[in-house]
């Protein structure tokens, strides 16, 4: 699978993958971690979060962690998910590298 077909990622999805890359988490932990990271205020609610998680599961980017129980579903990132995350970060870095000199020059 070529990860680039799925790019660009929405900021919310990027943040979720980034948070999961550091270790498995359940829904509440994910919401808290995402909120803590995005001072610009990516607000997550359970309904949208689990909707995104369902999609990511279906795409094979994440999977349920082994010790997951019904009430506190815990997810971990898969190899495919890591690939997507790396691809998106790379894309953003290239983008930044191209944009930064322009801003610096114009300012």
């Amino acid at each position: 699978m070529d990860p680039t077909t799925h790019l660009p990622l929405a900021p919310r999805d990027l943040l979720i993958l980034a948070v999961l890359a550091e270790g498995p988490l359940h829904g509440y932990g994910l919401i808290k971690a995402v909120e803590a990271r995005s001072s610009s205020g990516v607000l997550l609610d359970p309904a949208n979060l689990y909707r995104v998680l369902r999609r990511m599961r279906a795409m094979g980017w994440i999977a349920e962690a082994g010790d997951s129980d019904e009430r506190r579903r815990t997810h971990r990132i898969t190899a495919a998910g890591s690939a997507i995350l790396r691809a998106e970060l790379g894309r953003l870095e290239r983008l930044l590298a191209q944009a930064r000199p322009a801003v610096a020059g114009g300012g």
Binding site: H6, A10, K32, A47, N48, R51, R54, R55, R71
Partner: protein, 885 residues
Amino acid sequence: MNTRTALAVRLYRALAGLLPPDARDDRDAMVWTLEALRAGAPGSFERLALTARCVAALVAVLVVEWLDFLGVRRTSGGIHGHGRGGMGARNLRYALRTLRRAPAFSLTSILLVAVGVGAVTTIFTLVDHVLLRPLPYPDAGRLVSLDHGSFQGPLFRELSMVPGVQEWAGAWTDRINLVGEGDPLRLEQARVSENFFDLFGGRAQRGRLLRPGDFASANVVVLDAGAWQRIFGGDPSVIGRTIHLDDEPVTVVGVMDAGFTPPEPIVGRRVDVWRPLDWSVEELNRHDTQVLEIAGRLASGTSVASVQAGVDALLARMADAYENYRTRDGTPRSVPVVALADMTVRGVRTGLGLLMGAVSLLLLIACANVANLFLARGLGRTREMAVRRALGAGGGTLAVQLMVESLVVGVGGGLLGSALAWNGIRAFVALNPTALPRQASVRIDPQVLVFAIGVSVLTSLVFGLLPALRSVRQELADELRGAGRSATSGRGVSLLRNGLVAGEVALSLVLVAGAGLLLRSFLAVRAQDPGFAIEDVWTVPLNLPQPDSPEEYRETMDAVLRQALAVPGVRTAAYGLTVPMDRVGGSRCCWGSRPKLPGREEDRALDAMLHPVSVDYLETVGIEVVAGRSWTVAEVNVDPMSLVVNETLAREMAGTPEAALGMETEVGRLQAVVVGVAADNRHYGLDQNIGNQLYLPVERLPFALPLATLVVRVEPGANASMPRALRAAVWAAVPSLPVTTVRSMREAVDASTAGRRFESVIFGAFAAVALLLAAGGLYGTLLYLASQRRRELGIRLALGASRGRIEVQLLRAGFVLALVGIAIGLGASWLSNRLLESRIWGVERSDPLALGGAAVVLLVTAILASWLPARRAGRVDPVETLRIE
């Protein structure tokens, strides 16, 4: 707070349950996450905001998930579809974005829909559970009951001859005292025939129900589940034990299933003990004693009419054989065969129907308001629409988009409305003083949720369709041309908007006038002179263990009287078979009589209610003696018996109260003479007819009674101690006598009008909401009118028109709209108040005060609602307005 938080989470859980199957697995995790988030919120406001946000997001996700599930939208390509989705999802996303950009508009619309849907759903839930659902019995559709009172035992036995009926069951209900289990208790007892539990599908929770063998000895009892818990704390060892009911030892053989609902028309709402009908009891074998309530199940395929014919034929035969089955004019007694379901809800059908009508009006008003909002918003977006059409969007596409917007508002409002209904239904059941039949089973369930959503979708179609159609029909060129200047609405639209506002005013007037009529009835009832004392009078209904003789009854009651008189603060004490407000409403306890007058034909005999009372009764209850006097202790046993008649009866007998004194008559089989005339009083309720009433010495009753009500008149300062002191007094006289209630006459009178008060309060609440909605509609319309004509007003002001003039002009516009609405509303309410006829008392349905008052209320509301926009129009700064243009 705790219950509300729980409620929010429950609502969230219920909503999450509506997710499509593939997403529902996450429900528990979602709810758990929400709970964790809520627990982490720093304050209650943050918690509320968080919850609201999460619920709103869930609603949006719900819609999108279902679209995915139904394949409307294909999203396998990405996590979120960057416009790659199908039509439905794209429209939805667009609608959500548009609505989010106009939060005031969206919130107002959603709230309006929620109010309407919430009110309708609340009342519909009641209607559904109380009126529409089949009774909880096997083959409930085929259950019938005999109407018009109770029946004789011998008639019940003959009923098996009526063809077309599978089985009949009868029940004899009364009250009985349980002694020897702590404080004496008064229990509701039902003695039922053998096949009663077959007919109604009763099951035993423990032990067994009644067996055929039980009916021979009749010394067993089955406890109701509630009574078992209440009295015996759910102790299973009570089965097999012997308990004492009115001194009679009976063995407990089982406990009824907790889910069993007693058939109300047959045994009443509550039954504590079920016992076999003892056919050896004399009353059950007499032709002149009517004790049984009867129900039956039709054979399948039999019509009620054919059974009615069979019952009529049987009654005709009985009437030929026995006098007791004939009416006064000699014809057989008429006994309608009625579906049990109809009989159960007969008393509440019109009331609930009325409420349903009221909330439907409310929903209509809310709809009109939202439609108006959408129209106004549509006008504000003409430029947007024109540009989009110029860029190639078809009229149909735009209309669909607008419809999706209104659908989103409708569904959002519907969900919020369901939450309102959830609370509303509890509040209604808790506050309603007149218990509804089957109300224990009333709750919000998925079916009702479906109803609420259905109503909202329908509602949104109604209010969304007009604006959407308009956007399709609009000429593109006109819009683009108009877009350069401030858009003015076409004639058709303003007519429509005005019509909607006038309609709102009219509908509100119907509700306000209805509330006014109910309030006037309530006040009229309260203003009635009861004819007896309300303050400082206390009553204690007693249920004596079946006394063996009239003497025993009298001795017991005399002992109670002596103890009551010894209570400090009690001035006088008396007792009667019943006292005022004891039996409120239609049921007239306990006997009527036709006192015979010399010189009058039998057929002109007078119907009167008999009140057997003790010596000081009239004085104690505070009924004035307007002529003659009451009897004394010495006269109790003197013949002819002393009688006191009420004023109505005295006038009927002799023309004036004075002329009735000394008249001789015959009551029952006793010769009697009228010694006094009592002032008329409303014994059976403030809104009941006075009728002919007759007081006679209780000592002269030739048979023993199981009932009496003690009544005392106390010093004004002694009221506080009465409940406890009177209870103690009764127990000092008869230790085993249960005292269920000690009630002041004030309480009794208040309770008797509580139903009317509730009705007028709830109607008043609906009317107030309707007024608010109509005022909002008017306000919005005029505000919009003013902002549309800003340019014109600015120019006129610049040219020297006075601000006052402009204000008056706008006020007049609102005034005219209101007047048109009021005129229509007056007509509508004159027609629709016919439906209120059975609920109002002491006022005409065309009561000018109620109708006129409603008109004035609406007019004042309309002026207030127009005044603010008018002032705002008058404040327009001409320079600034023209500069904008």
